[in-house]
Protein backbone atom coordinates (compact mmCIF):
# COMPACT_ATOMS: atom_id res chain seq x y z
CA UNK A 1 0.00 0.00 0.00
CA UNK A 2 1.35 3.37 -0.96
CA UNK A 3 0.93 6.42 1.20
CA UNK A 4 -2.00 8.50 0.04
CA UNK A 5 -0.92 11.64 -1.75
CA UNK A 6 -2.13 14.78 0.00
CA UNK A 7 -4.89 16.37 -2.00
CA UNK A 8 -5.98 19.96 -2.21
CA UNK A 9 -9.66 20.17 -1.44
CA UNK A 10 -11.66 23.09 -2.67
CA UNK A 11 -14.48 24.04 -0.38
CA UNK A 12 -17.40 26.07 -1.62
CA UNK A 13 -19.10 28.61 0.70
CA UNK A 14 -21.84 26.16 1.72
CA UNK A 15 -19.32 23.51 2.80
CA UNK A 16 -17.13 26.05 4.57
CA UNK A 17 -20.07 27.66 6.39
CA UNK A 18 -21.52 24.29 7.38
CA UNK A 19 -18.24 22.85 8.62
CA UNK A 20 -16.99 26.03 10.21
CA UNK A 21 -19.81 28.43 11.03
CA UNK A 22 -17.28 30.54 12.90
CA UNK A 23 -14.57 30.92 10.28
CA UNK A 24 -12.98 34.09 8.95
CA UNK A 25 -11.17 33.99 5.59
CA UNK A 26 -8.46 36.58 5.00
CA UNK A 27 -6.76 37.91 1.91
CA UNK A 28 -2.98 38.18 1.77
CA UNK A 29 -3.36 41.90 2.62
CA UNK A 30 -5.48 41.22 5.70
CA UNK A 31 -8.93 42.02 4.40
CA UNK A 32 -11.82 39.74 5.37
CA UNK A 33 -13.03 37.85 2.31
CA UNK A 34 -15.72 35.73 3.94
CA UNK A 35 -17.12 34.92 7.38
CA UNK A 36 -19.22 32.03 8.68
CA UNK A 37 -22.85 32.66 9.63
CA UNK A 38 -22.25 32.60 13.39
CA UNK A 39 -19.49 35.22 13.14
CA UNK A 40 -21.86 37.29 10.99
CA UNK A 41 -24.40 37.07 13.81
CA UNK A 42 -21.88 38.40 16.31
CA UNK A 43 -21.33 41.41 14.07
CA UNK A 44 -25.05 42.11 13.80
CA UNK A 45 -25.64 44.86 11.25
CA UNK A 46 -21.98 45.65 10.87
CA UNK A 47 -20.61 44.34 7.53
CA UNK A 48 -17.42 42.35 7.99
CA UNK A 49 -16.56 41.21 4.48
CA UNK A 50 -14.17 43.71 2.88
CA UNK A 51 -13.13 45.13 6.24
CA UNK A 52 -9.60 45.00 7.67
CA UNK A 53 -9.21 42.05 10.00
CA UNK A 54 -6.88 43.81 12.43
CA UNK A 55 -9.26 46.76 12.74
CA UNK A 56 -12.19 44.52 13.58
CA UNK A 57 -10.41 41.92 15.71
CA UNK A 58 -7.85 42.25 18.46
CA UNK A 59 -5.30 39.44 18.91
CA UNK A 60 -4.50 39.52 22.61
CA UNK A 61 -2.22 36.54 22.86
CA UNK A 62 0.43 35.90 21.69
CA UNK A 63 1.46 39.55 21.71
CA UNK A 64 2.67 41.45 18.71
CA UNK A 65 0.29 39.93 16.14
CA UNK A 66 -0.64 43.15 14.37
CA UNK A 67 -0.45 42.34 10.67
CA UNK A 68 -0.78 39.43 8.23
CA UNK A 69 2.97 38.83 8.34
CA UNK A 70 2.76 38.20 12.13
CA UNK A 71 -0.27 35.97 11.67
CA UNK A 72 1.56 33.87 9.06
CA UNK A 73 4.39 33.35 11.52
CA UNK A 74 1.89 32.16 14.09
CA UNK A 75 0.15 29.77 11.71
CA UNK A 76 -1.13 26.73 13.62
CA UNK A 77 -0.73 28.32 17.04
CA UNK A 78 -3.59 28.89 19.47
CA UNK A 79 -4.70 32.52 19.32
CA UNK A 80 -6.69 34.37 21.95
CA UNK A 81 -8.60 37.24 20.45
CA UNK A 82 -11.72 39.31 20.71
CA UNK A 83 -14.12 40.96 18.34
CA UNK A 84 -13.72 44.71 18.93
CA UNK A 85 -17.25 45.80 19.73
CA UNK A 86 -17.62 42.86 22.13
CA UNK A 87 -14.26 42.78 23.85
CA UNK A 88 -15.83 41.15 26.90
CA UNK A 89 -16.29 37.92 24.98
CA UNK A 90 -13.05 36.10 24.39
CA UNK A 91 -12.54 34.02 21.26
CA UNK A 92 -10.14 31.23 20.62
CA UNK A 93 -8.73 30.83 17.12
CA UNK A 94 -6.45 28.98 14.81
CA UNK A 95 -5.24 30.42 11.46
CA UNK A 96 -3.64 28.47 8.62
CA UNK A 97 -2.53 29.53 5.14
CA UNK A 98 -4.64 28.60 2.13
CA UNK A 99 -3.25 26.15 -0.43
CA UNK A 100 -2.86 28.98 -2.93
CA UNK A 101 -0.30 30.51 -0.60
CA UNK A 102 -2.31 33.73 -0.66
CA UNK A 103 -4.34 34.52 2.41
CA UNK A 104 -5.39 32.43 5.40
CA UNK A 105 -8.46 30.88 6.91
CA UNK A 106 -9.06 31.21 10.60
CA UNK A 107 -11.49 29.12 12.63
CA UNK A 108 -12.83 30.59 15.85
CA UNK A 109 -14.68 29.30 18.89
CA UNK A 110 -15.93 30.76 22.12
CA UNK A 111 -13.62 29.62 24.85
CA UNK A 112 -14.97 29.23 28.31
CA UNK A 113 -16.92 32.48 27.88
CA UNK A 114 -19.44 30.59 25.80
CA UNK A 115 -22.40 31.02 28.18
CA UNK A 116 -22.00 34.78 28.14
CA UNK A 117 -21.71 34.78 24.33
CA UNK A 118 -24.80 32.63 23.93
CA UNK A 119 -26.73 35.05 26.14
CA UNK A 120 -25.48 38.28 24.57
CA UNK A 121 -26.00 37.13 20.98
CA UNK A 122 -29.05 34.90 21.61
CA UNK A 123 -27.34 32.02 19.83
CA UNK A 124 -29.22 28.78 19.18
CA UNK A 125 -28.01 25.27 18.50
CA UNK A 126 -28.31 26.06 14.78
CA UNK A 127 -25.37 28.45 15.24
CA UNK A 128 -23.04 25.62 16.17
CA UNK A 129 -21.83 22.81 13.94
CA UNK A 130 -23.28 19.47 15.03
CA UNK A 131 -19.71 18.28 15.57
CA UNK A 132 -19.15 21.13 18.02
CA UNK A 133 -19.69 20.11 21.64
CA UNK A 134 -20.70 23.62 22.74
CA UNK A 135 -24.37 22.72 23.16
CA UNK A 136 -23.38 19.67 25.21
CA UNK A 137 -21.20 21.94 27.32
CA UNK A 138 -24.13 24.29 27.92
CA UNK A 139 -26.34 21.32 28.73
CA UNK A 140 -23.78 20.04 31.17
CA UNK A 141 -23.36 23.39 32.91
CA UNK A 142 -27.10 23.74 33.29
CA UNK A 143 -27.51 20.16 34.51
CA UNK A 144 -24.69 20.65 37.00
CA UNK A 145 -26.16 23.82 38.39
CA UNK A 146 -29.59 22.19 38.68
CA UNK A 147 -28.03 19.31 40.60
CA UNK A 148 -26.04 21.73 42.73
CA UNK A 149 -29.15 23.73 43.60
CA UNK A 150 -30.96 20.56 44.63
CA UNK A 151 -28.02 19.51 46.77
CA UNK A 152 -27.78 22.95 48.33
CA UNK A 153 -31.47 22.82 49.25
CA UNK A 154 -31.00 19.32 50.62
CA UNK A 155 -28.06 20.49 52.72
CA UNK A 156 -30.10 23.37 54.09
CA UNK A 157 -32.91 21.02 55.07
CA UNK A 158 -30.52 18.52 56.65
CA UNK A 159 -28.75 21.30 58.52
CA UNK A 160 -32.08 22.58 59.84
CA UNK A 161 -33.03 19.07 60.91
CA UNK A 162 -29.66 18.65 62.62
CA UNK A 163 -29.99 21.91 64.59
CA UNK A 164 -33.50 20.92 65.62
CA UNK A 165 -32.29 17.48 66.72
CA UNK A 166 -29.40 19.04 68.65
CA UNK A 167 -31.75 21.53 70.26
CA UNK A 168 -34.09 18.69 71.26
CA UNK A 169 -31.21 16.64 72.64
CA UNK A 170 -30.31 19.51 74.98
CA UNK A 171 -33.85 20.48 75.94
CA UNK A 172 -36.16 19.22 78.67
CA UNK A 173 -39.42 18.68 76.81
CA UNK A 174 -41.73 19.33 79.77
CA UNK A 175 -40.40 22.71 80.89
CA UNK A 176 -38.60 23.85 77.73
CA UNK A 177 -35.52 24.49 79.87
CA UNK A 178 -32.17 22.87 79.11
CA UNK A 179 -31.80 19.28 80.33
CA UNK A 180 -28.82 17.83 82.23
CA UNK A 181 -26.80 17.39 79.02
CA UNK A 182 -27.53 20.98 78.04
CA UNK A 183 -26.45 22.23 81.47
CA UNK A 184 -23.24 20.19 81.39
CA UNK A 185 -22.38 21.49 77.93
CA UNK A 186 -22.91 25.08 79.03
CA UNK A 187 -20.91 24.56 82.25
CA UNK A 188 -18.00 23.14 80.25
CA UNK A 189 -18.23 26.08 77.86
CA UNK A 190 -18.19 28.67 80.66
CA UNK A 191 -15.18 27.04 82.30
CA UNK A 192 -13.33 26.64 79.01
CA UNK A 193 -13.83 30.31 78.11
CA UNK A 194 -12.85 31.37 81.68
CA UNK A 195 -16.06 33.35 82.14
CA UNK A 196 -16.92 34.07 85.78
CA UNK A 197 -20.44 32.94 86.67
CA UNK A 198 -22.75 32.16 89.55
CA UNK A 199 -24.21 28.68 89.94
CA UNK A 200 -27.56 28.17 91.64
CA UNK A 201 -28.87 24.73 92.51
CA UNK A 202 -32.59 24.56 93.31
CA UNK A 203 -34.53 21.64 94.73
CA UNK A 204 -38.29 21.97 95.13
CA UNK A 205 -39.79 21.51 98.59
CA UNK A 206 -42.97 19.49 99.05
CA UNK A 207 -43.03 18.42 95.41
CA UNK A 208 -43.58 14.77 96.30
CA UNK A 209 -46.69 15.73 98.29
CA UNK A 210 -48.12 17.56 95.26
CA UNK A 211 -47.58 14.48 93.13
CA UNK A 212 -49.03 12.16 95.78
CA UNK A 213 -52.11 14.20 96.61
CA UNK A 214 -52.98 15.84 93.25
CA UNK A 215 -51.49 13.36 90.77
CA UNK A 216 -48.75 13.51 88.15
CA UNK A 217 -50.59 15.97 85.95
CA UNK A 218 -50.49 18.45 88.83
CA UNK A 219 -46.79 17.70 89.31
CA UNK A 220 -46.22 18.44 85.64
CA UNK A 221 -48.14 21.70 85.93
CA UNK A 222 -45.97 22.72 88.88
CA UNK A 223 -42.75 21.87 87.02
CA UNK A 224 -43.94 23.84 83.99
CA UNK A 225 -44.65 26.83 86.22
CA UNK A 226 -41.20 26.55 87.83
CA UNK A 227 -39.75 26.53 84.32
CA UNK A 228 -41.61 29.76 83.61
CA UNK A 229 -40.35 31.34 86.86
CA UNK A 230 -36.74 30.38 86.15
CA UNK A 231 -36.96 31.73 82.61
CA UNK A 232 -38.31 35.02 83.98
CA UNK A 233 -35.40 35.51 86.39
CA UNK A 234 -32.71 34.67 83.83
CA UNK A 235 -31.33 37.03 81.24
CA UNK A 236 -29.75 36.56 77.86
CA UNK A 237 -26.61 34.47 78.24
CA UNK A 238 -27.93 32.75 81.40
CA UNK A 239 -28.90 29.08 81.37
CA UNK A 240 -31.77 27.49 83.27
CA UNK A 241 -31.90 23.70 83.29
CA UNK A 242 -33.98 20.92 84.80
CA UNK A 243 -31.38 18.38 85.81
CA UNK A 244 -33.52 15.89 87.72
CA UNK A 245 -37.15 15.20 88.68
CA UNK A 246 -37.55 18.39 90.73
CA UNK A 247 -33.98 19.67 90.60
CA UNK A 248 -32.93 22.73 88.66
CA UNK A 249 -29.66 24.46 87.87
CA UNK A 250 -29.11 28.10 86.95
CA UNK A 251 -25.81 29.18 85.37
CA UNK A 252 -25.56 32.96 85.52
CA UNK A 253 -22.60 34.68 83.88
CA UNK A 254 -24.44 37.95 84.54
CA UNK A 255 -24.25 37.31 88.32
CA UNK A 256 -20.64 36.44 89.11
CA UNK A 257 -20.74 37.93 92.64
CA UNK A 258 -22.55 36.84 95.80
CA UNK A 259 -24.74 39.90 96.03
CA UNK A 260 -26.36 39.63 92.61
CA UNK A 261 -26.58 35.83 92.83
CA UNK A 262 -28.33 36.06 96.21
CA UNK A 263 -30.77 38.55 94.74
CA UNK A 264 -31.71 36.04 92.04
CA UNK A 265 -32.10 33.29 94.65
CA UNK A 266 -34.45 35.51 96.69
CA UNK A 267 -36.54 36.30 93.65
CA UNK A 268 -36.88 32.59 92.84
CA UNK A 269 -37.83 31.66 96.41
CA UNK A 270 -40.41 34.41 96.72
CA UNK A 271 -42.05 33.45 93.40
CA UNK A 272 -42.15 29.79 94.47
CA UNK A 273 -44.14 30.70 97.57
CA UNK A 274 -47.16 31.52 95.46
CA UNK A 275 -49.27 28.35 95.11
CA UNK A 276 -49.64 26.97 91.60
CA UNK A 277 -53.26 26.58 90.54
CA UNK A 278 -54.10 23.19 89.06
CA UNK A 279 -57.73 22.72 87.99
CA UNK A 280 -58.85 24.98 90.83
CA UNK A 281 -56.63 23.27 93.39
CA UNK A 282 -53.78 25.30 94.88
CA UNK A 283 -50.53 23.30 94.87
CA UNK A 284 -48.12 24.61 97.47
CA UNK A 285 -44.44 24.15 96.98
CA UNK A 286 -41.27 25.99 97.88
CA UNK A 287 -37.60 25.64 97.18
CA UNK A 288 -34.23 25.15 98.78
CA UNK A 289 -31.19 26.61 97.13
CA UNK A 290 -27.43 26.15 97.25
CA UNK A 291 -25.22 28.60 95.41
CA UNK A 292 -21.54 28.92 94.53
CA UNK A 293 -19.40 31.38 92.60
CA UNK A 294 -16.84 30.31 90.01
CA UNK A 295 -14.56 33.12 91.22
CA UNK A 296 -14.01 31.15 94.48
CA UNK A 297 -12.26 28.39 92.57
CA UNK A 298 -8.84 28.62 90.98
CA UNK A 299 -9.18 27.21 88.45
CA UNK A 300 -12.96 26.60 88.35
CA UNK A 301 -13.63 22.90 88.74
CA UNK A 302 -17.05 21.84 87.53
CA UNK A 303 -17.31 18.74 89.73
CA UNK A 304 -16.27 20.55 92.91
CA UNK A 305 -18.59 23.45 92.22
CA UNK A 306 -21.53 21.10 91.77
CA UNK A 307 -20.63 19.13 94.89
CA UNK A 308 -20.33 22.33 96.95
CA UNK A 309 -23.60 23.71 95.62
CA UNK A 310 -25.22 20.38 96.44
CA UNK A 311 -23.85 20.49 100.00
CA UNK A 312 -25.09 24.08 100.40
CA UNK A 313 -28.52 23.02 99.08
CA UNK A 314 -28.75 20.28 101.73
CA UNK A 315 -27.67 22.75 104.36
CA UNK A 316 -30.70 24.86 103.29
CA UNK A 317 -32.95 21.80 103.60
CA UNK A 318 -31.61 20.97 107.05
CA UNK A 319 -32.00 24.58 108.16
CA UNK A 320 -35.73 24.35 107.51
CA UNK A 321 -36.15 24.68 103.69
CA UNK A 322 -37.36 27.72 101.80
CA UNK A 323 -33.94 29.34 101.97
CA UNK A 324 -30.67 29.77 100.11
CA UNK A 325 -27.18 28.89 101.35
CA UNK A 326 -23.90 29.99 99.82
CA UNK A 327 -21.34 27.22 99.55
CA UNK A 328 -17.80 26.74 98.31
CA UNK A 329 -14.43 27.88 99.65
CA UNK A 330 -15.33 31.59 99.67
CA UNK A 331 -18.58 31.35 101.62
CA UNK A 332 -17.87 28.44 103.91
CA UNK A 333 -21.54 27.48 104.15
CA UNK A 334 -23.05 30.86 105.06
CA UNK A 335 -26.76 30.48 105.69
CA UNK A 336 -28.45 33.30 103.90
CA UNK A 337 -31.79 34.39 105.16
CA UNK A 338 -34.96 32.54 104.37
CA UNK A 339 -37.26 33.47 101.54
CA UNK A 340 -38.94 36.83 101.74
CA UNK A 341 -37.16 37.58 105.03
Amino acid sequence: MTAARPVNLRLGPAALNGLMPMHVALTAEGRISSVGPTIARLAGDQPLVGGWFFTLFDVRRPGGVLAMRDLMERAGETLHLSFRPHTEIGLRGLALPLATGKGMVMNLSFGIGVTEAVKVHALTDADFAPTDLTVELLYLMEAKSAVLNELRALNRRLDGARSRAEEQALTDTLTGLRNRRGAEAELARLVATAQPFGLLHLDLDHFKQVNDSHGHAAGDAVLTEVGRILRSVTRKGDTAARVGGDEFLLLLPACPDLESLTAVARRVLSRLQKPVDFEGQPCRIGGSIGLVLSADYDPPDVERMIADADAALYASKRAGRGRATAGGPGAGGVDLDAAGA
Binding site: T124, D125, L138, A143, K144, V147
Partner: protein, 171 residues
Amino acid sequence: MIAREAQVPVGGFEAMLSYDAAITGDMLAAAESVLDRPREGILEDLGTYLVSHRNREGLRRLLRFGGVTFLDFLHSLEDLPDRVRLALPDLELPDMLLTDAGGDRFMLTCHSQIPGAGHIALGLLRAMADDYGALVLLDHLGTGTDGEVVAIHLLERRFAVGRRFNLAAEA
Protein backbone atom coordinates in the same frame (compact mmCIF):
# COMPACT_ATOMS: atom_id res chain seq x y z
CA MET B 1 -52.23 10.67 52.90
CA ILE B 2 -50.73 8.44 50.23
CA ALA B 3 -47.47 8.35 52.16
CA ARG B 4 -49.35 7.34 55.31
CA GLU B 5 -51.20 4.63 53.41
CA ALA B 6 -47.91 3.34 52.00
CA GLN B 7 -46.33 3.44 55.49
CA VAL B 8 -43.21 5.23 54.29
CA PRO B 9 -41.00 7.37 56.57
CA VAL B 10 -42.82 10.44 57.87
CA GLY B 11 -40.13 12.89 56.81
CA GLY B 12 -41.02 12.52 53.13
CA PHE B 13 -38.56 11.97 50.30
CA GLU B 14 -35.50 13.88 49.16
CA ALA B 15 -34.95 14.33 45.43
CA MET B 16 -31.22 13.75 45.61
CA LEU B 17 -31.28 10.58 47.70
CA SER B 18 -31.82 6.99 46.62
CA TYR B 19 -34.59 4.91 48.11
CA ASP B 20 -35.34 1.23 48.01
CA ALA B 21 -37.16 0.31 44.80
CA ALA B 22 -39.86 -1.50 46.82
CA ILE B 23 -40.94 1.87 48.27
CA THR B 24 -41.87 3.04 44.77
CA GLY B 25 -44.20 0.05 44.43
CA ASP B 26 -45.75 0.71 47.84
CA MET B 27 -46.29 4.38 47.02
CA LEU B 28 -47.92 3.55 43.69
CA ALA B 29 -50.20 0.94 45.23
CA ALA B 30 -51.21 3.45 47.92
CA ALA B 31 -51.77 6.17 45.29
CA GLU B 32 -54.05 3.83 43.35
CA SER B 33 -56.23 3.12 46.35
CA VAL B 34 -56.30 6.66 47.75
CA LEU B 35 -56.92 8.36 44.39
CA ASP B 36 -59.05 5.49 43.12
CA ARG B 37 -57.35 5.66 39.72
CA PRO B 38 -55.53 3.06 37.65
CA ARG B 39 -51.75 2.97 38.00
CA GLU B 40 -51.22 3.70 34.28
CA GLY B 41 -52.98 7.04 34.56
CA ILE B 42 -51.04 8.03 37.67
CA LEU B 43 -47.72 7.21 35.98
CA GLU B 44 -48.72 9.14 32.88
CA ASP B 45 -49.56 12.19 35.00
CA LEU B 46 -46.21 11.82 36.73
CA GLY B 47 -44.43 11.98 33.37
CA THR B 48 -46.42 15.06 32.39
CA TYR B 49 -45.81 16.71 35.75
CA LEU B 50 -42.04 16.20 35.44
CA VAL B 51 -41.79 18.49 32.43
CA SER B 52 -44.80 20.77 32.57
CA HIS B 53 -44.98 21.90 36.18
CA ARG B 54 -43.57 25.34 36.96
CA ASN B 55 -41.27 23.82 39.61
CA ARG B 56 -39.79 21.53 37.00
CA GLU B 57 -38.69 24.19 34.50
CA GLY B 58 -35.08 23.01 34.85
CA LEU B 59 -35.92 19.54 33.66
CA ARG B 60 -37.92 20.81 30.69
CA ARG B 61 -34.98 22.95 29.64
CA LEU B 62 -32.55 20.06 29.88
CA LEU B 63 -34.81 17.97 27.67
CA ARG B 64 -35.13 20.80 25.15
CA PHE B 65 -31.38 20.64 24.72
CA GLY B 66 -32.16 17.39 22.88
CA GLY B 67 -33.04 19.20 19.68
CA VAL B 68 -34.53 22.10 17.80
CA THR B 69 -37.65 20.21 16.69
CA PHE B 70 -39.82 17.56 18.29
CA LEU B 71 -38.39 15.06 15.79
CA ASP B 72 -34.83 15.91 16.90
CA PHE B 73 -36.03 15.53 20.45
CA LEU B 74 -37.45 12.06 19.75
CA HIS B 75 -34.14 10.95 18.30
CA SER B 76 -32.26 12.45 21.24
CA LEU B 77 -34.11 10.19 23.69
CA GLU B 78 -31.72 7.36 22.94
CA ASP B 79 -28.85 9.57 24.14
CA LEU B 80 -30.74 10.70 27.21
CA PRO B 81 -29.40 8.08 29.66
CA ASP B 82 -25.84 9.00 28.62
CA ARG B 83 -26.55 12.72 28.92
CA VAL B 84 -28.05 12.25 32.35
CA ARG B 85 -25.05 10.21 33.44
CA LEU B 86 -22.83 13.21 32.65
CA ALA B 87 -24.55 15.13 35.43
CA LEU B 88 -25.67 12.36 37.76
CA PRO B 89 -23.55 9.25 37.36
CA ASP B 90 -25.66 7.14 39.72
CA LEU B 91 -29.08 7.97 38.30
CA GLU B 92 -30.37 5.09 36.21
CA LEU B 93 -32.78 6.01 33.47
CA PRO B 94 -34.70 3.47 31.43
CA ASP B 95 -32.91 2.40 28.25
CA MET B 96 -34.82 3.87 25.33
CA LEU B 97 -34.76 2.78 21.72
CA LEU B 98 -36.50 4.69 18.95
CA THR B 99 -37.54 2.78 15.84
CA ASP B 100 -38.65 4.68 12.75
CA ALA B 101 -41.68 2.88 11.34
CA GLY B 102 -41.94 5.25 8.36
CA GLY B 103 -44.63 7.79 7.56
CA ASP B 104 -43.91 9.85 10.68
CA ARG B 105 -44.64 6.84 12.87
CA PHE B 106 -42.19 5.74 15.56
CA MET B 107 -41.92 3.13 18.28
CA LEU B 108 -40.22 3.98 21.55
CA THR B 109 -39.14 0.92 23.51
CA CYS B 110 -38.43 1.55 27.20
CA HIS B 111 -36.54 -1.03 29.14
CA SER B 112 -36.58 -0.39 32.87
CA GLN B 113 -36.53 -2.09 36.27
CA ILE B 114 -39.68 -0.18 37.11
CA PRO B 115 -42.78 -1.65 35.51
CA GLY B 116 -44.82 1.15 34.00
CA ALA B 117 -41.87 3.24 32.77
CA GLY B 118 -43.57 3.31 29.36
CA HIS B 119 -46.55 5.13 30.87
CA ILE B 120 -44.27 7.73 32.45
CA ALA B 121 -42.57 8.13 29.04
CA LEU B 122 -45.95 8.58 27.40
CA GLY B 123 -46.96 11.37 29.78
CA LEU B 124 -43.58 13.04 29.34
CA LEU B 125 -43.76 12.82 25.52
CA ARG B 126 -47.24 14.34 25.53
CA ALA B 127 -46.03 17.32 27.56
CA MET B 128 -42.89 17.75 25.45
CA ALA B 129 -44.94 17.65 22.23
CA ASP B 130 -46.98 20.54 23.65
CA ASP B 131 -43.79 22.31 24.54
CA TYR B 132 -42.52 22.03 20.96
CA GLY B 133 -45.93 22.82 19.52
CA ALA B 134 -46.11 19.46 17.74
CA LEU B 135 -49.30 17.42 17.32
CA VAL B 136 -48.84 13.74 18.15
CA LEU B 137 -50.90 10.62 18.79
CA LEU B 138 -49.47 8.44 21.53
CA ASP B 139 -50.42 4.91 22.47
CA HIS B 140 -49.00 2.43 24.96
CA LEU B 141 -48.86 -0.87 23.07
CA GLY B 142 -47.96 -3.05 26.04
CA THR B 143 -44.81 -4.89 26.96
CA GLY B 144 -42.73 -6.71 24.36
CA THR B 145 -39.56 -8.77 24.77
CA ASP B 146 -37.35 -5.64 24.94
CA GLY B 147 -39.58 -3.61 27.19
CA GLU B 148 -42.66 -1.43 27.03
CA VAL B 149 -43.53 0.00 23.64
CA VAL B 150 -45.02 3.44 23.03
CA ALA B 151 -46.32 4.18 19.54
CA ILE B 152 -45.81 7.75 18.38
CA HIS B 153 -47.59 9.19 15.38
CA LEU B 154 -46.31 12.64 14.49
CA LEU B 155 -49.33 14.25 12.81
CA GLU B 156 -48.06 17.79 12.56
CA ARG B 157 -44.50 18.86 13.25
CA ARG B 158 -45.44 22.41 13.91
CA PHE B 159 -49.06 22.44 14.90
CA ALA B 160 -48.93 25.32 17.33
CA VAL B 161 -46.37 27.80 18.54
CA GLY B 162 -44.30 25.99 21.12
CA ARG B 163 -42.70 27.50 24.16
CA ARG B 164 -39.55 29.51 23.62
CA PHE B 165 -36.23 27.92 24.30
CA ASN B 166 -33.07 29.98 24.70
CA LEU B 167 -29.82 28.14 25.02
CA ALA B 168 -28.80 30.51 27.76
CA ALA B 169 -30.66 29.97 31.02
CA GLU B 170 -32.52 32.94 32.49
CA ALA B 171 -30.51 34.42 35.31
